[in-house]
Amino acid sequence: MSHQMDKVEIGNSIAVNTIVNDFSITVGTMNGSGSQTSNLTVLRALFKMGIPVSGKNLFPSNIQGLPTWYTIRVSKDGYLARREEHEIVVAMNPDSFQQDLREVTPNGSFYYADHIRADIMRDDISIYPMPVKKIVRDSGAPPKLRDYVANMVYVGVLAQSLGIELEKIYQALEYHFKGKSKPIELNYGVVQAAAAWAEENLEKSDPYKLEPMTATENFIMADGNTAGALGSVYGGVHFVSWYPITPASSLAESLGYFLPLLRKDPVEEGKNTFAVVQAEDELAAIGMAVGAGWSGLRALTSTSGPGISLMAEYAGLAYFAEVPLVLWDVQRAGPSTGLPTRTAQGDLTFTYNLGHGDTQQIIMLPGTVNECFEFGWRAFDIAERLQTPVFVLSDLDLGMNQWMTPPFEYPEEPLDRGKVLWEEDLEKLEGKWARYLDIDGDSVPYRTVPGNRHPKAAYFSRGTGHTNEARYSEDSGVWVELLARLKEKHNTARSLMPESIIQDLDGSEIGVIGYGSTEPAIREARDQLAAKGILIDSLRVRSLPFTRDVREFISRHRVNYIVEMNRDGQLKQLLLIDNPDLSNRIISLAYFDGLPMTARYVREAILAAEEERDE
């Protein structure tokens, strides 16, 4: 049957039981229409109501005019992964209208802007046309600004229909507009008008309701890029060089915002203890960071896959010349330009061996926003301790979406500046030292940095073969010794890197191994499978080289499912290289559609694999 546009009709198979705080709201808009403000407002208001909530922005690589979606999940049980089911859909964009309509789950509800003229061929859902233009006009918004605030209509309608407290919406707007009363009042006016319209006209026929909880009291909302930037600020970053790229730009931009606030020199007041340079490209960005790291600064550059490709040459030099620096790779879907606004974990093997010849890099894998903060400062300690680049691999979902997370914690460990010799150290050594000589037996030599005025301080760094005294050498023996030491240094790293997060259930023989932003999907899938009687232990890898607990975990499970967001099972490949004797216990469950991992995928993939095994 077909619905007319101008009257509310209600489907005839609506469930009557109320569903509270356990559903998804997906909003389809046109990008560039200001929908981000509305979506974040809903998300933040729900968070302020104490309801566990997550938001995923599924956006195109475009500035204005293409369809974009935002999915908000509320979960009284605290599950924050993306869901594939959309119980509540808001359609504001004519171009995606039919698709949006199709995706509403049976018994779901569909809110749409009533100026969109289209047939509605569903009778299993609740349908709510919203007179968006009329409400905006009636709200008193000035004609010139009406287009920008039109999306606030669904905020107000949802508030009334689902039970979002208006006061919380006001708080969200205050935060969003940094207390500027004009835009706050303008947007809030539309929300109020829309809520009032809904109260009078919307006849609710769906089961979805929101009720306040107290589950977010000890949490903040933040994204991983902001967290990574702040962690770096507390890690004492001196030098940042970067080149704009989605989805990494906001990390460097956050540094540009927070460094002036937090890093004015307490001694020489008003002076900056940092410098940020926007480079001409990624080749220069990493070159600057290598120069800065070499001369004793805590140097950072941030990019995404295409930038990593360009950085390969300097990354190899930094590995070989033993220069500390931190590189954030906020991953997106590749190869090539790929899906620039979609998430992925496809740079793992590439960055691990970034550089030609025998190169092994150090990688940290934050899985939560809080870990982005922690690894933000810890990466510098590891880089300087090991005198090598440290890659921090985040992804678009973790980096750019808002997550509820425990507050950031002040680092309890002092900065570890590693083995650096200054003038007084060299005096004690009577100038006797060699740049690449391993005297501590950990394969990490001592270094000096430019600005050290001791006459024996200087050495010449190079990407060419060199002796322990940093002199040019093409001698085969010297070369073999040098590469062997670098390999051994990589082993030293194993004991410095963050250990895995392991969760064991009694009596489980099955393991699931993942990393990064798939954490919530894996956690939820494990709970769902446990409810079916399938017990699964989990290990979240947090670094490369693997810490020793990884092998131990694999060996005590008859099967280990490797969950990751790329086509080729890159983590699986690396696990096989390290554990060839355990290869029959390692099965890849790779997923690569560019959208954040869901519990359903993990659950169904494990069930299918288990079924196959049973046959």
Partner: protein, 349 residues
């Protein structure tokens, strides 16, 4: 300048820094005998010695190629980094933020700068990085055995390469249009001028681009090639006789009043440009561009200080950095105090 007290043999001549010329030398060169680059390395040694610069106050950078090997042939007591092909400027940019008392000397070649490194070269120029950027320009790739570089003149014929069909890149011109604050051209066969220009460049607070024609005796030294010794000697037209007067010295150069241009450098030193055949004002950018165009037209090697602007801020001056070098800041100065974490958390939603 941070002077070191060093025991010296009383019979060895030392400069004001208490250092002998040996303290400025590098390892023996491994370049070809007669290579222009060796002559430039010697003039760097001489200039630093005569300026009483402590080698620890200099940091050397280079890219890849014959030219880029040469930083090992001077100032062994200075830190150095032989980086990647065409990527020396970025390396220097990051490194020089560590200690604003350091002065960078970057050595590059025409392949390293005008081909693979054109982008980084021009961006270092536009940022006014505090670097003496020397391009040892010979029109040819030496280390890979004699291919054309981007500064090779159109029509140049090289053994086993044929004839170059493309127009050359003019490094001084590129520097000038990229807003370089110090642009000079010289000739390795004119060591006196090279040394004076290096001294002036070391006193310049910002980027100093020295495009030095430095003949490759092995691959591109035929008399008709514009990067050869013979051609350079034949066609060099110096814009002026250049002398450098350190800040502490009285002006002892013998010249007639009114005949010269004097440029006061940031550190108080003077660059005196004694007039030769013509008037030339190196502070006039339009004139500098005209003179380069004229050099093309007359097929001559114009040398000297082509352009200088001492009023622009160098890169690190823009950044409002403390007196204490960034790489010497204590932990308390680079980690925000504990109480700020609450503020930060409050700033999140």
């Amino acid at each position: 300048m941070n002077n070191q007290t060093i025991k010296t043999n009383s019979r060895v001549q030392v400069n004001i820094a208490g250092l002998s010329k040996a303290d400025y030398r590098g390892n023996p060169t491994t370049l070809c005998q007669g290579c222009g680059h060796n002559s430039i390395a010697s003039q760097i040694v001489a200039a630093c010695y005569e300026l009483d610069i402590v080698p620890e106050d200099i940091v050397k950078f280079s890219g890849i190629g014959c030219s880029s090997k040469s930083p090992t042939y001077f100032l062994t007591r200075s830190f150095g980094f032989n980086g990647l092909h065409g990527r020396m400027p970025s390396l220097a940019t990051g490194a020089l933020f560590a200690d604003h008392n350091l002065k960078g000397i970057g050595i590059s070649g025409d392949g390293d700068t005008a081909s693979i490194g054109m982008g980084q070269f021009k961006h270092a120029v536009r940022r006014n990085l505090r670097l003496v950027y020397i391009v040892e320009n010979n029109g040819v790739y030496g280390l890979t055995k004699g291919q054309f570089s981007a500064t090779a003149e159109a029509g140049l014929t090289l053994k086993s390469q044929g004839t170059n069909p493309y127009m050359p890149v003019d490094i001084a011109w590129e520097a000038l249009v990229g807003h370089a604050t110090f642009v000079a051209r010289s000739f390795a066969g004119d060591p006196k001028q090279v040394k004076a220009l290096i001294k002036a460049a070391l006193s310049h607070d910002g980027i100093a681009v020295l495009d030095i024609i430095s003949p490759c005796v092995t691959f591109n030294n035929q008399d008709t090639a514009t990067h050869s010794y013979a051609w350079g000697k034949e066609h060099e037209v110096a814009l002026h006789e250049l002398s450098y007067v350190p800040p502490v010295e009285e002006i002892m150069v013998d010249y007639e009043l009114g005949e010269n241009v004097e440029v006061t450098m940031h550190d108080g030193s003077l660059v005196v440009l004694q007039k030769l055949e013509r008037e030339y004002d190196p502070t006039n950018r339009a004139e500098a561009i005209r003179v380069l165009e004229e050099a093309n037209a007359c097929n001559c090697l114009i040398t000297g200080l082509i352009y200088i602007d001492t009023d622009q801020k160098s890169l690190d001056e823009i950044y409002n950095l403390p007196e204490t070098p960034l790489n010497r800041l204590s932990q308390e100065r680079i980690r925000p105090p504990r109480e700020t974490i609450k503020t930060v958390n409050d700033m999140m939603f």
